[in-house]
């Protein structure tokens, strides 16, 4: 039974553009390798943090929406904790209202892009 999740992580600003892409790819692959499927992805870019984390005032935000097994989330979070590039993360299970909201949000985003 796959559940709908979304995960946001903040990568350190010391990384280069290529290193960020590499980190994102690692998690994307990690999800698909473990039987999950990626629904949506959003790059928020370099953002200012509301308060310093590990003495850094900015960070690269990245959002991934995916479907996976419930047991997978623990594995993913272990990966986050081991990774020094990730300074903060949040994984959130979407219920039906949240999923509907995410869908509308996606529709809005693609509209503004076009």
């Amino acid at each position: 039974m796959l559940k709908h999740y979304e995960t946001v992580f903040i990568a350190t600003p010391v990384l280069s553009e290529v290193q960020i892409k590499e980190a994102v790819k690692k998690y994307r692959d990690f999800i698909t390798e473990n039987g999950g499927e990626i629904v949506y992805e959003e790059d928020w870019g370099l953002k200012k943090l509301a308060y310093p984390i590990q003495k850094k005032t900015t960070g690269f935000y990245h959002l991934i929406e995916f479907k996976a097994d419930a047991a997978f989330v623990a594995k993913l979070e272990v990966q986050y904790r081991r990774d020094e590039r990730i300074i903060r993360f949040l994984t959130f299970a979407l219920d039906k209202h949240a999923a509907a909201y995410a869908e509308r949000r996606r529709a809005n985003k693609s509209e503004t892009k076009n």
Binding site: V8, I10, L49, A50, Y51, I53, G59, Y61, L63, R88, L90, F92, D95, H97, A98, A100, Y101, R105
Partner: protein
Amino acid sequence: MANPLNNEIRYLNPPTVEVKKKKYCRFKKAGIKYVDYKDAEFLKRFLNEQGKILPRRLTGTSLKFQKKVSQAVKRARHLSLLPYVTDLLK
């Protein structure tokens, strides 16, 4: 001296009758079912200047959504989208 016909209380200014504006839950009114933690600008409406969550008695939010708002604010704080403590937010 005291005129029995004139003993009503007289006001210098006409007394203002306060019409209380009825508070309402904006989520129920607008039909919002999910409070997004990623939308920091929206969540700021439920915070005071120090970044504290405003009580229900001020915002009029229903209990059901107050819980969701507070949960969303806490998630946003964890992701550093909102500050835990600050001065002069907004």
